[in-house]
Assembly symmetry: C2
Homo-oligomer: 178 residues x 2
Amino acid sequence: MKLSMYDAAVPVSIRAMNNLATILEKGAAHAEARKLDPAVLIQGRLFPDMFPLARQVQIACDQAKSAAARLTGQEPPKFEDNERTLDELKTRIRRTLDYVGGVSSSAYQGAENRRVGFLLMDPYVLDMDGMQYLRDWVLPNFYFHVVTAYDILRSQGVQIGKQDYLAHAGYAIRRTAS
Amino acid sequence: MKLSMYDAAVPVSIRAMNNLATILEKGAAHAEARKLDPAVLIQGRLFPDMFPLARQVQIACDQAKSAAARLTGQEPPKFEDNERTLDELKTRIRRTLDYVGGVSSSAYQGAENRRVGFLLMDPYVLDMDGMQYLRDWVLPNFYFHVVTAYDILRSQGVQIGKQDYLAHAGYAIRRTAS
């Protein structure tokens, strides 16, 4: 048995986005408990010229939906980048999960050899096969934006921890008898 | 063709650690140019109770070497966590790359079904098969610490960007004719 492209791409991003939604909920609870304007959290960033939280979440979602589309020969759906609240960011995650979850695993057949090319930033294009695209582009980018979203909330004092980021792995953790 | 466990685990971590070494070099150059004590950067953190840069790099390396060991039925080598300079952190990355690079791809044969169990934090143990371990534990953890190391340096004003984090993908970026 080897990892299929579906196995390598989809369950990973579904779980990470579910964890991210929980992390955003903790951010919202934090803002409410401290009577903070939640807009402050969404605009939180680690350095003045780095993207704020909202953009990190948007790009993480875009990586996931673009991968599901491009690896299966579809055009990635466009979502407007107009979220202004943590709730709206959660909705974007939900829409992304709906899209990714709606692509059947059989559609990924042969995805590793599918040619993936798109305009990156004029005049630069990215041109890879599906395996390179998933491994060298989608997953590093996806994780980058999920972790940076986490890091922004963490740096703002939201009480989140590795157990939130790794919540999907809880099934494999058990107490020893001793 | 499907992704082998070796394909999913090894090239990814080798490239990310090489990129991380470059990012640390840029941190060192930044410290030197601004006459900063480099120890300040190594102890940089995003929040008082979050691990500093040095520990983020150590854990990223540990995830990579533990994965190479456990997926191939070996005991992970222990490295002391005593790095005090950015150069010493680069050496740790180099030692990790040597270890990971020294495990042949054939040793990963059947790794997806290999039982992986270890003490997480007394009394909790992690117990997974190799595919779960790689996909649900190693990669999310590895990326978490690599990205957080990047985020710490970025938050300290080091001039690094996505092109450093994604340097490995340069082979697939080209200029359009127009």
